[in-house]
Structure formats: structure tokens, C-alpha cells
């Protein structure tokens, strides 16, 4: 009988494909996650089709077409989101802005991951002095609130969207380093790593082939949430003037410019770009929640079917009533 129990857990190593299928199956069940995914896809479509939606080229791109005789117009049929201070179509700028934000999100995550994962893996795997040095460095980065660190770095690098991505990316390193380190510490001691070591695999191979793949789930979740955070942080930096170079239609910079017109009643200059920032972050967070639930083995059978529960509950109540009447 103990054997029977044992055999139950022997099934653990599953095929990769079916694993993804499983995750997707679980992800799919979460309606909020699907809404998030759909929003992100729409966002990508908008970015991809920006030139079609707001056509033009270079300086004369739709988002940059100036008409000094139509400045600060409120939304109309011609200009859905109105026009800005120098007569550009806000809708076109908002549409083109999706490119910047998505780009920022991805690049920041890539910086965070490509630096953070190796640091975390090395720190976790080797321990000792290397671990100490890396983690103290991480501590230093963590001792300064992220946005302040980003401001300092962005100030040093100068304004510009590339520099913002670097600045926010550096701020993102500690999260990944810490997540991976914790995972590595946990995974390292497991049997299959011991087995690989016994089989003569070198450290690099062990880390790459055996340890890291098992650390990926929290990193993926962290990344989808981190992308939202990165977009928010970058918009914040743009807002205080460290962001994208004019005339790039960056949402945070548009907000900053529009703020000066806010009390004069030009609400359309701040409403739409801000809404877009909130929307993309919202979508990423929803997707991140869904991913976390789908990837978390603890939560695998967490969901409860309200429909069937209620149906049985009602049927039971009805049956009781019937029997009560029968008496």
C-alpha cells in the first residue's frame, strides 16, 4: 500500500508540451487573465498598425503633423482625442505611443533578466564570497527607492528613452537576482541536481540545464508584473522630464505637457495618455495574475465551480423542502 502511494508521485517528470498545454488550460479558465491577454494583443496590434491608423512618414508622420492654426482643440469628429499645444492630433500620438511603452516594457525586462538571472544564479549556486559581494551590491540597489535610483541614473545618462530603459532596467535587476537566488538555493539541494553532479556535469551545465529551467516559473510571473511596473516607472520618469525626446509621442511625456493645461480646462491632453498607461498596466497585471495562478503548482486545483455548487445546493434545499412537506 505504501508502494501504491509511491507510484503516484513517480509520474512527476512530464513532457514539456503537455506542461505548456496544462498551463494554457489553467490560464484559459481565468476570465480576467483572458481579458488581460486580449488587451495586450490589441495593444500590440495598435503598435503594429500605428502607421496605418495614423499614416505619415518621419517628421510628417501622422502623430507629428503640426497645424499651428488648430492648437488645443477639444475632441471632435475630426480629431477624436483633440489636438495638442502645437496642433498635433492627440489620437495619432496616443496610438503611436503604444510602440514606445511596449518597447520600454520589453527592454527593461530583458535588461533585468539578462543581468539579474546570472547574478542570482551565481550567488545562489556558489554561495560564499561571491554570493556576499553580489548580494551586498543588490542591497545597495535596494536601499534606494527604485524611482529615485532611476532618476539618479537617468540624470547621469541624460534624458532620452534609451536611457530611461537602462535606468529602470538597472532598478529591475534586484528583483530577478533575488528571485532566482532563492529558487536556486531551493532547487540546488534536490536529488536531480545531485545526480547531474554525480554524472560529472560541470557547474555551468548544471546551472543552465538543470537549475534555471526549474526557476523559470516565478521569473515569468515576476516579468509580466515587472513589465507593468517598468512601464509605470518609465512614464513617471518621462513625467518629470527625463523621458523620451520630443517629439516622440511618449504617454508619460504627453501627460507632463498636458498637466500645464489641466487647470485651464484642457482635460483631453491628460485624460487619454493617462488612460492608456493605466490600461496597459492593468492588462499586464491581469495577465500576470493569471500566469501566476496557472504556473503555481500550489494553486493547481484551487478553482471552485460556483455553478455546480449552487445547483446542487439548490437541489438539496428543494429536496429538503419536499420531504418536509411530505411529512
Amino acid at each position: 500500500m505504501e508502494n501504491a502511494i509511491q507510484s503516484n508521485t513517480d509520474l512527476k517528470p512530464k513532457k514539456r508540451r503537455s506542461q505548456f498545454g496544462e498551463i494554457w488550460k489553467r490560464f484559459k479558465r481565468n476570465p480576467l487573465a483572458i481579458v488581460g491577454l486580449v488587451l495586450i494583443v490589441l495593444m500590440f496590434l495598435m503598435a503594429a498598425l500605428a502607421d496605418v491608423i495614423a499614416p505619415g512618414d518621419g517628421v510628417f508622420a501622422g502623430y507629428n503633423l503640426q497645424d499651428w492654426n488648430r492648437i488645443r482643440q477639444f475632441p471632435s469628429a475630426e480629431h477624436w482625442f483633440g489636438t495638442d499645444d502645437i496642433g498635433r492630433d492627440v489620437f495619432s500620438r496616443v496610438v503611436h505611443g503604444s510602440r514606445i511603452s511596449l518597447q520600454v516594457g520589453f527592454v527593461v525586462i530583458i535588461i533585468g533578466i539578462t543581468v539579474g538571472i546570472p547574478l542570482g544564479a551565481i550567488a545562489g549556486y556558489y554561495k560564499g564570497i561571491l554570493d556576499n559581494v553580489i548580494m551586498r551590491f543588490i542591497d545597495i540597489l535596494l536601499a534606494v527607492p527604485n524611482i529615485l535610483l532611476a532618476i539618479a541614473i537617468a540624470a547621469a545618462l541624460g534624458p532620452g528613452i534609451t536611457n530611461v530603459m537602462i535606468a529602470v532596467g538597472i532598478g529591475a535587476i534586484p528583483i530577478y537576482a533575488r528571485t532566482v537566488r532563492a529558487q536556486v538555493l531551493a532547487v540546488k539541494e534536490q536529488e536531480f541536481v545531485e545526480a547531474a553532479r554525480a554524472a560529472g556535469a560541470n557547474d555551468f551545465r548544471i546551472i543552465r540545464r538543470h537549475i534555471l529551467p526549474n526557476c523559470m516559473a516565478p521569473v515569468i510571473v515576476e516579468a509580466s508584473m515587472g513589465m507593468a511596473g517598468a512601464i509605470m516607472a518609465a512614464a513617471g520618469l518621462s513625467f518629470i522630464g527625463l523621458g523620451a525626446q520630443a517629439p516622440t509621442p511618449e504617454w508619460g511625456a504627453m501627460l507632463a505637457d498636458g498637466r500645464l493645461r489641466m487647470l485651464a480646462g484642457y482635460w483631453h491632453l491628460t485624460l487619454f495618455p493617462g488612460l492608456m498607461i493605466a490600461l496597459i498596466i492593468f492588462a499586464l497585471n491581469m495577465m500576470g495574475d493569471g500566469l501566476r495562478d496557472a504556473l503555481d503548482p500550489k494553486l493547481r486545483s484551487g478553482g471552485f465551480s460556483k455553478k455546480r455548487f449552487r445547483r446542487i445546493q439548490l437541489a438539496k434545499a428543494a429536496a429538503q423542502n419536499n420531504s418536509g412537506e411530505g411529512q
Binding site: L32, R136, P145, N146, I147, L148
Partner: protein, 308 residues
């Protein structure tokens, strides 16, 4: 416990030293001459040279770093290049506002987040839970600076209820507190909810129920105390997040705080103020984290015994 605190305090020193060092490196890498920032559009080479010497910028930067650290040890943070006043004076004139703002933000976040999180967890799958989860997601997603702007637009421009800026009257605290605290409130709500959900499934909660304990006490006496442990961490981290977030909130609501001041210090290359400010924020953040760890010990006896 004392030894633990002492150890933590000692560990702060290299980290803070590292912070100062990194800030010095950044100050060296940053383009923009602080001397010219002071002198403005027209600066004769003689004036530039004189001021540079006066500010000690003619020395090599490692020497400047060394001098700075020696000064800091004696609680001398130098003088602001812009105003000529001691950095200490400049910073502490504004720091209380920032602390108050961040403190009120954390208080708002806790007062909103914890109760909502508890109810949401206890009534899992209810309409309230679904609604709170959704609102929580929105709260996490809304950029605080935009929220602040929209509140000004609505409560000041449209309704005329609240003053747009300032930080002296309590009525002026409302919008900044909500603006800065909403993200954290949502984060804490989500954290409380998931932590509570985990705790109310714990064996010891079942034990409490098996004792015949009433549900309210099961939740508050048994589940909540344990659920609050991760929430405490989140709240501590939020505080750091809010100290940073104050930069934007202070700008929007024109609060004379350290955040907005430091941004202008960065822009003006007033490095003594910028470095001093970052150092102070790092120190307060470290102390908040220490405080959180001490708080842990009060909540969780397991951790208390680790601290020996």
C-alpha cells in the same frame, strides 16, 4: 534581540557607504557643470574658476568622496551649492513633509488594504470578493501621478471642493494621500487577501474551528495575526516605494517636500543635496526595514527566537 539590532545597524554601514559611493560615481558621470548651473547664462572663466575652487570641485573626486564620508561621520553633509545653506538644514526643512506624506500614504494603504483584503478573503467567491479583486487590480495599475492629476481635475477644477495644492491644512492632505497611497493600498489588499486565504486554510485555523471557536475570533485571533506577517513586509516595502513615489506626488501637489526638492537638485546638479537626500532616504528606508523585522519578532515568536 539587542545583538540582532546591533548587527543589523552595523550591516547598514557598508550598504549606505555603497549608496554614497554609487551616487558619487553617478555625479561624476553626469554631464552638466554645477558651477555653470549656479552662474547661469553668462559665466566668465574667472568666475567659474573661483566658484569651482570655493566649492572644492578642483579636487579629485575620490578625495571629494573621502572628504564627504569624513564629513558625514561628523554629521556634516556639506552645504548646498545652490543656496549656500547646510544640506542638513535644507533637507530637514523638507523631510518632515515627505515623511508625513509617505506615512499618511502607508496609513491609508493599511486602513484600506487590510480590511478589504480580509473581507475579500473571508468571503471568497462572493460578489464582494470579485469586485474588490477587480478594484484592487485597477488600484495597482493606475499611475499615481495620473491619479493625482485626475483628482485635481475632478475635485478642484470641476467640483471646486478641494484645494489643488499645498500641504499645510488637513484638507490639503486628502488628495495627495489618496494619490500616493492607492497603489500601495491595492498591493496590500491583494497581499492581505492571498495571505488570508492561505492562512484560513491552515491546519491551526481548522484546529481553532475544531475547538468550537466562533468564526470572528477564528479569523482575527488565529488567521489574521499570521496573515499579517507577509503584509508587514509589503507595508515596509511600500514605505520605500512611497518615499520614491513622493517625488511625483510632491511635484503634482506642489508639496514642499524632499522628493521634489531632490529632483530639482538633480536637475541643477546640486550634488551635496542630491547625495544627502538619497542617503537620508536610504537611511530611513533601512530603518523602516529594520523596524519591520523587529515587528516580525513581535508577531511571530519563531522569528523572535531566530534573532538571538
Amino acid at each position: 534581540m539587542h545583538i540582532f539590532i546591533l548587527k543589523r545597524l552595523l550591516m547598514m554601514i557598508p550598504v549606505l557607504l555603497g549608496v554614497v559611493f554609487i551616487m558619487f560615481v553617478i555625479s561624476q558621470l553626469t554631464p552638466g557643470d554645477p558651477v555653470l548651473a549656479i552662474l547661469g547664462e553668462v559665466a566668465t572663466p574667472e568666475a567659474v574658476a573661483a566658484l569651482r575652487e570655493q566649492m572644492g570641485l578642483d579636487q579629485p573626486w575620490l578625495m571629494q568622496f573621502f572628504n564627504y564620508v569624513v564629513g558625514v561621520v561628523q554629521l556634516d553633509f556639506g552645504t548646498s551649492w545652490q543656496s549656500g545653506r547646510p544640506v542638513f538644514t535644507e533637507i530637514f526643512a523638507r523631510f518632515p513633509n515627505t515623511m508625513q506624506l509617505a506615512g499618511m500614504g502607508v496609513a491609508f494603504a493599511l486602513l484600506m488594504g487590510i480590511p478589504l483584503g480580509i473581507v475579500s478573503a473571508v468571503k471568497q467567491y462572493s460578489i464582494f470578493d470579485t469586485g474588490a479583486t477587480f478594484v484592487g487590480l485597477i488600484g495597482v495599475s493606475i499611475p499615481n501621478f495620473w491619479l493625482g492629476m485626475m483628482m485635481i481635475m475632478f475635485f478642484t477644477v470641476t467640483l471646486g471642493w478641494l484645494p489643488p495644492t499645498g500641504f499645510t491644512e488637513p484638507i490639503q492632505w486628502i488628495m495627495p494621500t489618496i494619490a500616493i497611497g492607492t497603489n500601495s493600498a491595492a498591493i496590500i489588499m491583494r497581499m492581505t487577501r492571498s495571505s488570508m486565504l492561505e492562512c484560513i486554510r491552515q491546519d491551526y485555523v481548522r484546529t481553532a474551528r475544531a475547538k468550537g471557536q466562533i468564526e470572528r475570533k477564528v479569523i482575527f485571533r488565529h488567521a489574521l495575526k499570521n496573515a499579517l506577517i507577509p503584509v508587514t513586509t509589503t507595508a515596509g516595502l511600500s514605505f520605500g516605494f512611497l518615499l520614491g513615489g513622493a517625488v511625483l506626488t510632491e511635484t503634482i501637489f506642489a508639496i514642499p517636500g524632499l522628493g521634489a526638492f531632490m529632483v530639482s537638485a538633480f536637475f541643477n546638479r546640486d550634488w551635496p543635496v542630491a547625495i544627502g537626500g538619497v542617503l537620508l532616504i536610504a537611511v530611513s528606508f533601512s530603518f523602516v526595514n529594520l523596524f519591520v523585522d523587529i515587528l516580525y519578532a513581535f508577531i511571530d515568536p519563531r522569528i523572535r527566537s531566530q534573532y538571538r
